[in-house]
Symmetry: C2
Subunit: 140 residues, 2 copies
């Protein structure tokens, strides 16, 4: 893919007791632990307004993923037919951005404690967004 | 932010009748039209398994956004107090990745017709993921 590239600057990193990818659950609701989102000093002012109890979508850069994979057996199960990665949540995909829905447990100056989060320790954070409340458009 | 950079290679581009950012709705459910997701030849095999009727999350790179903004007045309304961008859906943020929930209307070899999509024509596509059905973990 030789198109113009776009560069992500991490706004922070995941700090978690999960350190080995093979020990991480495939989705947050499959037994993932709590974790800290540690923001860089430059990005930290962007967390103003986030409070404990908020529901967030965390976007990560799955830095251990293989980027040259376009088709996979879902959940690594070879008895299941090959599918395009865009119809699965495989980590392996051209731009390995992970989406994680979490609850905020605690807010400190430069970090947020959240759960559940299946990303491993050291995973770069791309963005943090509020979950949209469809019933209340003013809060978007 | 001087950390190691990560590079996005667009998997495709949005083709839409929306061409002016100021005419685009702020969210897909605020009157956004249908659009085509035109995949690059290299990325196109990744769409295998996507069919009309599927619900997808499209990740875009909001290429017109300002990346040096960390606090905003929500929805550009200066009567509302400043908030950190990570507690809003502002386009302006360090890594301007847009999240769009869409329905698939039609699938062709290298493109998908979807709705609603508030991204303007020419917006780079970062990734496409299925909406997770919490009631059916096997379909993730």
């Amino acid at each position: 893919m030789s198109l113009t590239p776009y560069t992500i600057e991490p706004i922070g990193f995941v700090r978690s007791k999960l350190t080995r990818p093979e020990a991480a659950p495939m989705q947050g609701d499959e037994g993932a632990p709590e974790a800290w989102l540690e923001l860089t000093p430059l990005a930290a002012p962007g967390r103003m307004g986030i409070t404990a109890g908020d529901e967030l979508i965390v976007l990560t850069w799955l830095h251990l993923a293989q980027r040259d994979v376009l088709q996979v057996h879902p959940r690594g199960d070879h008895s299941r037919p090959l599918r395009g990665v865009f119809s699965t949540r495989s980590q392996d995909r051209p731009n390995p951005v992970g989406l994680h829905r979490v609850s905020v447990l605690e807010v400190m100056e430069k970090k947020l404690r959240v759960a559940p989060l299946e990303a491993i320790d050291g995973t770069p954070i791309v963005d943090i967004k509020p979950v949209l409340l469809r019933s209340d458009p003013s809060e978007r």
